[in-house]
Amino acid sequence: MLEVGNLVKIYETEREEPAGGVFDIAFEVKQGEFFTLLGPSGCGKTTTLRCVAGLEQPDRGSIVLAGEVLFDGATGVHVPMYDRDIGMVFQSYAIWPHMSVFENAAYPLRVSRRIRYGRAEVTQRVERVLEMMGIARYKDRSATQLSGGQQQRLALARALVREPKLLLLDEPLSNLDAQLREQMRTELKRIQGEWGVTTIYVTHDQGEAMSLSDRVAVLNQGRIVQIGPPDEIYDLPRSEFVANFIGRTNLFRGRLQDGVPAGGSAIVTSEIGPMRCRFAGMSEAGRDITFVVRPENVIMSRGKADDTAAPAGENCVKGLVSSRVYLGDVAEYAIDIDGMRKVIARAHPAIGIGPGERVTVQFPAERTIAICE
């Protein structure tokens, strides 16, 4: 449905020095897909979204929606934002205070030039979309009388009333409190599924990205560093940045002994001992390797008090629990290895291991991932 190629937009300060932007952004979104742009502040995700919307004009690249060229730096084509078949929800919702709820939602139909909507059709469409969002009973109220969550639904209704080819959402949940946010998240997923509209979602919250998306693109400093389904991003990070940005992780460095093919596993001699890691891509012997293992995958077991022998089993090390943090649904342990390195492990709180105890820590080989850029 949407193809973005080689998008470049550079912002300059007054003295014409580069001050951020996006460099060489490229991705595709399939029909009906929920695609998320995820990254920290300033990574370029909102810039990318605004370029697709037409609110910013890129310096180079191309944007094609359903076969229609919206922007092409080479030929100079730039379709203005009001001629693109795209609906957008803004972070502040941008609900017009001088209009009623009905009029806010009806606005896109009233100003439409390509298709003329008759009065009856406008009423029918607007009522249908307001009904879907659960705010139909407020339709004659002034828009300023809605709560935050209701305004957000109205913004969504307004974006969808024209049944656009593409829906853009710019951090729509960031203004809501935690409870409402979770509620709206589920709502959004349901609505998007029912409408089947191709969606691009921008957020810095990984929880939202993981739970809502079909695919996620992680951005950092203006570039896409990894694209894939949520579980791939989480389980198989392809860079330190992604590994650290998404969830918590344990990160170690070492050197690869022998060469390994793509999809294979091999021993990496590391700061905490020899560890067998899984390799997504091929690597040659002697290479410096960084590998990660998620805290929830670390297996912890009590060591015997007088046990001084080396631990049996692959990817095992001995350690001393230095702290335990109770988080309600899980307990997080910090374990000292050789008094230097700390390993973070997560376990069910019922496991009664406390600080000061000797434990054996094991990283299951298939969950110890070597980072292959």
Binding site: A53, L55, P80, M81, Y82, D83, I86, G87, M88, F90, Q91, S92, A94, W96, P97, H98, Y107, P108, V111, S112, R113, T144, A155, R158, A159, R162
Partner: protein, 582 residues
């Protein structure tokens, strides 16, 4: 140049704080009580005397006689009040419409389009602040008057029967309207700048073209603000004096303010009773209008939400038309500042004014400047005026800073401070002048005719302006900054001196400069209060016009403008540098 501030917020804040902070029992902190007493001493006597004098006959020695309703009866049954009221209304509406049409256009071009040269308009408007209103009026009378270049050109083209008479209602409307353009421009600009970009972006993402967006969203949301501004200019015109005095009276058009002036000058003896009655009527009308304005501007603020995203409103690309817009901006600059200055410079170099003729260019000389800048009363006038401006600003700014801080932090009884300090707003300058005149004449202390009396009146008049600036400045200082100071052990007084005052420094400097500029150019306030030895520039210019000494007036005016331009450009750079809104 009647570029006086947006006085709305002070009145509105006064109202709101009164509604919010109605105490259950009357409590006053000692400091608040002291300040209230000071304010009351300054403000109550003139008000009281004004009311009193309108209800009592005046004996020949100036003291008050018996109670009478005669003045009010004469006012309402006489032939003068109703026409004056109608004239005032027409004049006010007309100038408001002219000022708004030009000012809003200018603001839109500067803030929302890519017109070349638009970055200089703000500077131009602020420089215009340095030109006294009266000079402006005189300049336009020179241009449009009987012997002026416009009439000469018309007669040349169409014969001697054709001509325009500027001493008419339309003359008053045009001159006053153009006078107000910098004010409407500056106020409209800050409204436009505060608009949230996402409202318009949402409209365009919904498929509306830029023009539709402008009409349906930008203008519609800005409408309450525009209406409020219209009403503000209407009020300002209602109470203005210079234009009606110089233009209207010569054309036999009376408005309420000139009626006050004339009855207090009187043909034989001043009739304070009449002046008092007119003043009270004017006051009541102004109070009603200000109340209306407060309601309107509250609605206007409801529509302005500023999110933290920081996207500036979209600039409309005019394409080829931007050069036409540039010309329009230039024309407006010429109307407001350029042409008046040119004609004044021209006149100042003449021995006498005879229109703009080729001969005139041969008569250029600096004699006028030599005379005016040499030893004489003008130098004294400059000195007095500088003292007046500096004293007023220096008294008003710190005093209102303290009052505003007490009011903003809701100290017990501070709501009364707010009300008292905003009260002078309802007095037109000429009415305040008459009121203070009466007070000073009847005081046992010999204050009448001294510069100090003018300073006192001026301080009272500009108190609300200082309050408005100070209040806005204090609101920007987060409560927690002061809480942190007090939890570290400092008392309130130390907190005020060590934390609040330094943080208020920049708004206070800006406020000082603006109040200085406004205080030195008003004519009607000092008009009744000055005498020999206390000449000030604005009143001297007024007198020179009455005596027909146009060329001296022009040279004096230009010399003064040069001096004031230094102050006004300083004001511009301070506001630019620290990004204060005006």
């Amino acid at each position: 140049m009647a570029t006086e501030l947006d006085v709305t917020d002070a009145a509105e804040m006064a109202r709101q704080s009164a509604v919010r902070a109605k105490p259950r029992k009357l409590q006053f902190s000692p400091l608040v009580l002291l300040l209230c007493v000071i304010l009351a001493i300054l403000i109550i006597p003139p008000t009281f005397f004004l009311v009193d004098v309108s209800f009592h006959t005046t004996r020949p020695d100036g003291s008050m006689g018996d109670f009478t309703l005669g003045y009010y009866k004469a006012l309402f049954t006489g032939r003068f009040f109703l026409p004056a009221l109608i004239n005032t209304a027409i004049y006010a509406v007309g100038s408001a419409v002219v000022a708004l049409a030009l000012g809003v256009t200018q603001a839109v071009l500067v803030e929302r389009t890519n017109t070349p040269g638009r970055q200089y308009v703000v500077l131009g408007s602020i420089i215009a602040l340095g030109i006294p209103n009266i000079l402006h009026v005189v300049a336009w009378l020179l241009i449009l008057g009987r012997s002026g270049p416009v009439n000469a050109a018309l007669q040349h083209a169409f014969g001697s029967a054709v001509g325009i008479n500027v001493y008419s209602m339309w003359g008053m409307i045009v001159i006053e309207g153009v006078n107000f353009v910098p004010l409407t421009f500056l106020l409209m600009s800050s409204v436009l700048r505060a608009t949230d970009a996402s409202f318009e972006e949402a409209s365009m993402m919904s498929g509306a073209r830029p023009l539709t967006t402008f009409r349906s969203i930008t203008l519609r949301m800005g409408l309450p603000g525009i209406l409020a501004l219209l009403l503000l200019v209407f009020i300002r015109a209602f109470e203005s004096f210079e234009v009606p005095a110089l233009v209207g009276l010569a054309g036999n058009i009376n408005v309420l303010t000139t009626n006050v002036y004339q009855s207090s000058r009187g043909s034989v003896t001043p009739s304070y009773g009449d002046a008092g009655a007119y003043s009270i009527c004017l006051l009541i009308i102004i109070v009603a209008l200000l109340y209306l304005y407060g309601r309107l501007s509250r609605n206007a603020h409801k529509f302005q939400t500023i999110t933290g995203k920081g996207y500036r409103p979209r600039v409309i690309n005019l394409g080829g038309m931007k050069w036409g817009a540039s010309v329009a901006l230039l024309v407006m600059f010429m109307l407001v500042t350029g042409l008046p200055l040119l004609i004044l410079v021209f006149t100042s170099l003449q021995p006498f004014y005879d229109g703009v003729t080729p001969d005139a260019f041969g008569r250029f000389s600096f004699d006028n400047y030599r005379e005016v800048l040499g030893p004489g009363s003008f130098r004294d006038a400059i000195a007095n005026t500088l003292i007046l401006g500096a004293a007023t600003a220096t008294l008003v700014v710190p005093f209102t800073a303290l009052c505003a801080w007490l009011a903003a932090r809701r100290r017990p009884g501070a709501w009364l401070l707010d009300q008292l300090a905003s009260l002078p707003l309802v007095f037109p300058a000429i009415v305040m002048s008459v009121a203070f005149l009466y007070v000073f004449v009847n005081l046992p202390v010999p204050l009448y005719g001294t510069l100090l009396s003018v300073i006192i009146a001026s301080t009272v008049r500009y108190m609300p302006y200082g309050m408005r600036y100070a209040y806005a400045g204090v609101l920007q200082i987060h409560n927690e900054l002061e809480d942190a100071s007090m939890s570290a052990g400092a008392r309130r007084s130390s907190t005020f001196l060590r934390i609040v005052m330094p943080l208020l420094a920049t708004p206070m400097i800006s406020s000082w400069l603006l109040i200085f500029l406004l205080a030195v150019q008003t004519v009607s306030l000092p008009l009744m209060l000055v005498g020999p030895g206390t000449e000030i520039v604005a009143v001297s210019l007024f007198d020179l016009w009455q005596n027909g000494q146009v060329t001296e007036l022009a040279s004096m005016g230009i010399a003064w403008v040069c001096l004031m331009t230094v102050v006004s450009t300083t004001f511009y750079y301070v506001t630019r540098r620290y990004q204060l809104t005006i």
